[in-house]
Amino acid sequence: MFKQKNYLALGAVVLVAIILLSLPSRATARLKLAVGSWFLPLFGLAGAAQQLPADLADSILPRRELLKQIDYLRRENQQLRSQSVQSVAIARENDQLRALFNWQRQSPWRLKLANVVMRDPANWWRTVQIDLGSRDGVQTNLPVITDAGLVGRVSSVSTTHSQVVLVGDPNCRVSALVEDAARDMGVLIAGGTLDTSLVELTYLASSANLKSGQTVITSGLGGVFPKGIPIGQIVDSRSVEYGLYTDARVKLNANLGSLEQVWVLFP
């Protein structure tokens, strides 16, 4: 039943698998990116196909609607300008105070918009790929956010694309703090497998007095995520390990299930 050619073919497949699995991580990453680039033409086609209905809708939008939108945008622009003037004054005051107390000046973060082009096909990871790569200056471990809050960090980079590991994946742990009186700190780890909007905040102090709805932000510890990025809100909490520490469930602000565009933070 099991002829020699069967053995040879099976042996060849096993050999290829073993060789690939035993390659150094750097070579594997390069190979993955090279193979992933075979899909680029299809990503381009898919992007164009997704853009087509939006373009069609734009072209048939009535003039009255366009004028209304222009009016709304003008008013919003005026508001943002006044806020910008205020923030410039606050930044100047902040600089003066920092100079007075001899505090280190924080360098502002630059933002770059990226489109989410694909998601991880495996159910046991939570990653996406974005259309910014090393040619755009992207490096590993750069934070990725949306206007709602934290999304994750860049885990690997190719020339044109990068992989982002999302909050809630076992490979993306975030040091976070709860905006309460005690400023309780914990570590954000993976949450539920089905609900992408819930993650677990663990290793909180046993005395933490958490309430539903309290805001969770990044603590700035760990060196990857800057302090103050909103993450989500406390849903509930429970004491674990016979009261040794407290765990809380956090509902993420960013909707990770339907990410389309994200911002990459550059230092």
Binding site: F2, F39, M118, N123, W124
Partner: protein
């Protein structure tokens, strides 16, 4: 060997992996992303030769891992482990019956993610696992089972429409005709 069938199978695998990476609908509606490679491997094992099975296992696995956070090559062995036993026993399998295709698709769709997870856990990887994983597994099995007969129909239709047709030997052969008479014709 019909090369067109191999090309068609590999093209389908490529598109299947691309679809799994870009279509968010199954994840949003069912809570799990479905994997069509095991179902395609069943079709390949029942209808194609060993080189095609090996190619699908290697290339399908590499394509899947390249778009995933999986270590490269980890999906090759589960696909090969599904394809080989089916190939070896394919003469005993009623491959044209949709029910047989359904059952084989279900078994393959159950085995592939389970074996991949086993390999990943053996390699010390920390995976996103929980009670929800059981639901995701059930969804993958159900969709893989239902998809297998469709894949058979689709691939056969494509093969008929675009591939070479097998030469059909006529049933009648003059040299085997039974002579009814002693007289020479």
């Amino acid at each position: 060997m019909n090369v067109f069938r191999t090309i068609l199978i590999l093209a389908c695998a490529f598109l299947a992996v691309f679809g799994e990476a870009t279509l968010a609908a199954p994840r949003q509606w069912l809570g799990a992303q479905v994997d069509l490679l095991p179902a395609l491997m069943i079709y390949t094992a029942l209808n194609a030769g060993l080189p095609t099975i090996a190619l699908l296992a290697v290339l399908g696995g590499i394509w899947f891992d390249a778009l995933s956070a999986n270590p490269l090559g980890v999906s090759i062995l589960p696909l090969a482990v599904i394809g080989w036993p089916v190939y070896l026993r394919r003469d005993l399998i009623l491959r044209d019956l949709p029910f047989a295709q359904f059952v084989l698709g279900a078994v393959a769709s159950a085995a592939a993610p389970a074996l991949t997870m086993l390999l990943l856990l053996s390699g010390g990887k920390e995976l996103l696992l929980g009670w929800g994983t059981l639901w995701q597994w059930i969804v993958m099995i159900a969709v893989g089972a239902v998809a297998t007969p469709f894949i058979f129909s689709l691939m056969d239709a494509c093969n008929r429409a675009l591939g070479y047709q097998e030469r059909v030997e006529p049933g009648f052969r003059l040299d085997r005709e039974i002579q009814r008479s002693r007289r020479k014709l």
